[in-house]
């Protein structure tokens, strides 16, 4: 298991958001984490991303535990949230160069070119990020996230705010990212999209995982029905 979460509890002051979650992911799996608003999906992802500390519980990624070995975890993690995490006043190239230096990536020039190629932004590399559309920014954000070739990728509702075309482009990139054998955990509201991408669907409701089902066990067209039923039962 490349991600192991055991009895994870997260409290904000007196409010408990995650109540003893158990969660594990095998290498190469693409897990779609679904759930209603306020279920704790973003909180959970932030903990996995080492941006937030667990109140109680054990989390380990790629053999390193959080929060004590957070630096080692971060090296192996790529994160895309719904905010682009990019600097508008720098060009796409400069943004990637900055992150290459922060992640201490060898042969940065070649890597940056490859990544820009992969996300379809090679022609815009010298343009300021603030001139990019939201879809382009998301793609560049993914580029930033894969720059250091992480084993595990976390996506927090990456399709938010994108139109159909942009979503489709994003999906192409996502498929490419997943194809390299990377492990992916993605939260989403967009059931139709994740139906095509994910190999496993987990439901997070009221702070715990209430159901988990493999792609092979379900007809992706019935995903909505499965989701509704799982929520109702919780």
């Amino acid at each position: 298991m490349i991600i192991t979460v055991r009895k994870l509890v997260k409290r904000f002051g007196l409010k408990t958001v995650l109540r003893g979650m158990d969660f594990s992911v095998a290498p190469g799996e693409f897990v779609a984490l679904l759930g209603p608003n306020g279920a704790g999906k973003t909180t959970f992802l932030r903990i996995l991303a080492s941006l937030s500390r667990p109140t109680i519980g054990q989390v380990s990624i790629a053999g390193y535990s959080l929060p004590h070995q957070a630096a080692a975890v971060r090296r192996r993690l790529g994160v895309v949230s719904h905010l682009p995490l990019l600097y508008g006043d720098l060009t796409a190239d400069e943004n990637l160069r900055f992150f290459a230096r922060m992640y201490d990536i060898p042969q940065a020039d070649k890597r940056i070119s490859d990544v820009l190629e992969m996300v379809g932004l090679a022609s815009r590399r010298r343009d300021l990020v603030r001139t990019f559309s939201r879809g382009m920014q998301q793609r560049l954000a993914i580029g930033r996230a894969v720059l250091h070739d992480p084993e595990v990728m976390l996506f927090d509702e990456p399709h938010t705010g994108l139109d159909q075309d942009a979503c489709q482009m994003l999906d192409t990139v996502l498929q490419e990212v997943a194809a390299r054998g990377r492990t992916v955990v993605m939260t989403s509201h967009d059931l139709a999209r994740v139906g095509d991408l994910a190999s496993r669907f987990d439901i997070l409701s009221r702070g715990v995982i209430t159901s988990s089902i493999q792609r092979s066990e379900i007809d992706p067209n019935n995903l909505l029905a499965y989701y509704r039923q799982a929520i109702a039962e919780a």
């Binding site: 904000f12 002051g13 007196l14 409010k15």
Partner: protein
């Protein structure tokens, strides 16, 4: 919800008795000072107040460190309580210092290092409250409060020293008669007794109030907890 612990009840009684005694000593036991007359009596409580204010600040800074290291919410309540109480004590110290200044030199304010530092401390406390007010998440509020309490506590001695040097190189025209309480008169034994007694009394008042305030904080948290439980 427990009722007041016995120790606290006893402490309340002791505190009240000490305070009454202290007041009595100030007005009847301590002699009348030759130069300043009745106004001088302000001195006993003035210094005690300021001393307790600083004590509170120290408690807050130490609780801050404890909170950051342990993460136990009770340290946050202790820190907040200490600063709330110090706020009041410093205020009293400033007001009594002002009365003293009026009595000694005829002005309501002097830029004396101690008085000025006390005023700056008040502003720091006000900033502390404003900081806490602007944060929703209780853990973040506690963390930021702890950090600010620590940093501001470190700055106080430096502030005091800088004002001190400022004054010795450029003595202010008003209030050139010295830096406030000490040195402007000699204390007879009875004055000394009253002075020390006041210091002790006020320290105990501080402890008593702190305990009450911490209980209040804990009750508030319990209430909040129950409220959230019923909502969820």
């Amino acid at each position: 919800m427990e009722s007041k612990p016995r120790m606290l009840v006893i402490l309340d009684v002791i505190t009240s008795l000490l305070f009454l005694t202290a007041v009595g000593m100030v007005f009847f036991y301590a002699p009348l000072e030759a130069v300043m007359g009745q106004v001088q009596r302000v001195f006993y409580f003035h210094v005690a107040n300021a001393w307790v204010g600083m004590l509170g600040f120290m408690v807050a800074a130490i609780s801050g460190i404890a909170y950051l290291r342990k993460g136990d919410r009770k340290w946050d309540i202790v820190g907040l309580s200490a600063i709330e109480i110090s706020f009041v004590f410093f205020f009293t110290a400033i007001v009594s210092g002002s009365i003293w200044a009026r009595g000694s030199w005829g002005t309501w304010w002097t830029w004396d290092p101690r008085l000025t530092t006390a005023a700056i401390c008040e502003l720091v406390y006000a900033a502390y409250f404003l900081l806490r007010q602007g944060i929703e998440d209780p853990d973040r509020r506690a963390r930021f409060g702890a950090v600010y309490a620590i940093l501001s506590f470190i700055s106080v001695p430096l502030t005091f020293i800088s004002i001190r040097i400022f004054r010795t190189i450029h003595p202010v025209i008003i209030g050139a008669g010295g830096s406030g309480a000490e040195g402007s008169f000699d204390m007879s034994p009875r004055m000394l007794h009253t002075f020390i007694f006041s210091l002790i009394t006020f320290s105990i008042i501080f402890a008593d109030l702190l305990w009450h305030r911490i209980r209040l904080g804990k009750l508030a948290e319990e209430a909040e907890n129950l409220r959230l439980k019923t909502l969820q």
